[in-house]
């Protein structure tokens, strides 16, 4: 008994240091380099955002100081912004424009992708090719025809004018085309056997199963529409019908830039996007990964 006890104890004692040595995480030099690089890159990405927020809290005489925190933080710049331009109205306009544009991207993308994938018609490959090609056409090429069209349709200086030309996007069609193409045909055929026609199949069978792709597309389209600057610049006439990106420009004058208010306005403009990011962090990253964008 004692001998066996000793054997157990001695074997335990022999094993224990081995286990504890294994349990201790070992840091490899390669991993250390990767982590250091990632930390540096994260710092480079985050620091401008931090600097924007901090600068928005600084007084005018302190704006060019290199201090990491203002000596007397204040919200004066925010008050100034809200008194100088209809910032809340512009934020609301931008939310409407970005939200409706994103919804329309998803809707038109769904319809086009369904037709291209599910309906067999002559030249469908050619149509798909044309859509893919149109993605490569730069905005500057379509800018003037779009402007003329918007002008003739009476859409100048309206929110509809900011939305309608961007209601459909080749990127949305291509992204949903591939998602729909990989959707199991048998499930659609089962729905056809159950008596469902195209409309039901699209809304009741395919769409619920493409939620991840649709969410990705919606988020990307919303961010892209939110950040749109050039088209609103061309189309907007009055500040009331303008979007927040145009509002930011108000603080860049010929006499010099009003850095404090500009940073405060930029912070306000970034808040919805930051909120989306914080709420839907996983989906946002997924959507960027899926779309191949970084």
């Amino acid at each position: 008994m004692t001998t066996s006890m000793n054997r157990v104890l001695s074997s335990g004692a022999a094993v224990e240091p081995e286990v504890s040595r294994k349990a201790r995480p070992r840091i490899r030099p390669g991993a250390l380099t990767i982590h250091a690089t990632m930390i540096l890159l994260a710092f480079i990405a985050i620091f401008p955002v931090y600097w924007m927020v901090v600068s928005s809290l600084k007084a005018e005489n302190e704006i060019f100081s290199t201090g990491l925190w203002p000596s007397a933080p204040s919200l004066d710049n925010y008050g100034f912004v809200l008194s100088q331009i209809p910032m809340l109205r512009m934020l609301a306009n931008t939310t409407v424009v970005a939200g409706v544009t994103a919804a329309l991207h998803v809707l038109t993308g769904l319809f086009a992708a369904y037709a291209l994938v599910r309906w067999r018609f002559r030249f469908s490959g050619f149509v798909y090719g044309l859509i893919a090609l149109s993605w490569l056409v730069p905005f500057q090429v379509t800018m003037i025809p779009n402007y003329v069209l918007a002008s003739r349709l009476g859409l100048l200086d309206t929110l509809a004018g900011l939305i309608v030309p961007h209601a459909a996007a080749a990127f949305a069609v291509l992204m949903l085309y591939h998602a729909m193409k990989s959707f199991p045909t048998e499930i659609i055929e089962a729905a056809r056997m159950d008596g469902a026609k195209h409309w039901r199949i699209l809304w009741e069978i395919i769409t619920p199963n493409l939620r991840a792709s649709l969410a990705s597309l919606g988020i990307l389209a919303f961010i892209s529409a939110w950040n749109e600057y050039f088209w609103p610049l061309l189309l907007s006439r009055s500040i009331e019908n303008s979007v927040v990106q145009i509002g930011l420009q108000m603080f860049m004058t010929q006499e010099g830039n009003l850095w404090g208010p500009l940073m405060a306005a930029s912070t306000l403009a970034s808040l919805p996007i930051l909120a989306i990011y914080l709420l839907l962090q996983r989906q946002v990253i997924e959507s960027f990964m899926k779309s191949g964008l970084r």
């Binding site: 199991p184 048998e186 499930i187 055929e189 089962a190 729905a191 056809r192 056997m193 159950d194 008596g195 469902a196 026609k197 039901r200 069978i205 619920p208 199963n209």
Partner: protein
């Protein structure tokens, strides 16, 4: 329940024919199994009946009404797919009841029918689960329930058991047979598994290269295959074949002068190349001196529990004989004999079955 008539049905993909002139009539309440190797056109044929595939030419009629241009949902057919094809975002009860929802059936009536079908299939405790939370067998049952709930005129099964393990496959096979007996609905079942085909079919349709090779009861097809393809395809272990030539007397002579069936005469031109076929289970073990005996060299014995498979060679050709486990494998040189009643002969040129002159002696 409905009858189905298929006439001169063709399907061509681009320039590749998939189904080539199929004619078939299926009676009300019949269970027909379409059997054939991969790519023989059996699934395409089923899908054309279902309406999931356009018909290049020909006619599909259900209860004498041509349904060529009807949508799949309007043909009164229900289909069970190979991969179940359940709606992943819906619960079991929503999956089963979807066709009724589409048809606009009131919720209370729908729920009642769903419960009845689920009870019949033993799914009543899984109604709130999603397909991903079910085992393969349960998913298969849901697919069956989805097909049953509409009380369709025709059940179509597209290799529904091929994703199940052997035990579950047997269980589901029996269940399908039981349901067919209870519901009495016309059913078409596509498979490449001959065991499924033999056990389920009232009538078997063997397809090859887009054409029907033979139609008959499983026993008819097994006992009297109409072509070399059917003879080779059906049966496990497969039929043994011995190349031979017809001599001046109309008898079959093997390459080395042996006559495996010395008393049978075929009405074929002298010199015609043929193949003598015999099922492994029909071979008789005899001494080497017996008349018509073919010397057999055993290479390997497989013990399957109920029977032994003797794999070996006869006159240089591979051959398999089957012995019941109780029968001892001879420990001395022996031969195999083909009983006259077990001889199948096929013309090499076109693979057609040719019966001997005295056909009455075959059965």
């Amino acid at each position: 329940m409905a009858s189905i008539r298929i006439s001169s049905l063709h399907k061509v993909y681009g320039k590749t024919p998939a189904v080539r002139g199929v004619d078939l009539s299926i009676g009300t309440g019949e269970f027909v199994v379409i059997l054939g190797p991969s790519g023989c056109g059996k699934s395409t044929l089923l899908r054309m009946i279902a309406g999931l595939e356009d018909i290049t030419s020909g006619v599909v009629a259900i209860d004498d009404v041509i349904v060529n241009d009807l949508e799949p949902g309007d043909r009164g057919c229900a289909m069970v797919f190979q991969n179940y094809a359940l709606y992943p975002h819906m619960s079991v009860s929503e999956n089963i009841g979807y066709s009724l929802k589409v048809a606009g059936v009131a919720r209370a009536e729908r729920d009642e029918k769903i419960r009845r079908v689920a009870t019949l299939l033993g799914l009543d405790t899984f109604l709130d689960r999603r397909p991903a939370q079910l085992s393969g067998g349960q998913r298969q049952r849901v697919a069956m329930g989805r097909a049953m709930i509409r009380s369709p005129r025709v059940f179509l099964f597209d290799e529904p058991l091929s994703n199940l393990d052997a035990k579950l496959r047997l269980q589901m096979r029996l269940e399908i047979k039981r349901l067919h007996r209870e519901l009495g609905s016309t059913s078409i079942f596509v498979t490449h598994d001959q065991l499924e085909a033999m056990t389920l079919a009232d009538r078997l349709v063997v397809m090859n290269g887009g054409k029907i090779e033979q139609v008959g009861t499983p026993q008819e097809i097994y006992r009297r295959p109409a072509s070399l393809f059917v003879a080779d395809f059906l049966g496990s272990p497969p039929m043994n074949f011995i190349p031979a030539v017809i001599d001046d007397e109309g008898k079959a002579v093997c390459a080395d002068g042996l006559r495996p069936c010395p008393d049978l005469i075929w009405d074929l031109e002298p010199g015609a190349e043929v193949r003598i076929g015999v099922r492994p289970g029909d071979l008789q073990i005899v001494g080497r001196s017996a008349r018509g005996a073919l010397p057999f060299e055993v290479e390997m014995v497989e013990d399957l529990g109920t029977e032994n498979h003797l794999h070996g060679t006869t006159t240089g050709l591979r051959m398999t004989a089957v012995l019941a486990t109780g029968e001892a494998v001879p420990d001395h040189p022996f031969a195999v004999l083909i009983p006259e009643s077990a001889v199948h002969l096929f013309r090499e040129r076109d693979g057609a079955r040719i019966d001997p002159r005295s056909v009455s002696r075959i059965h």
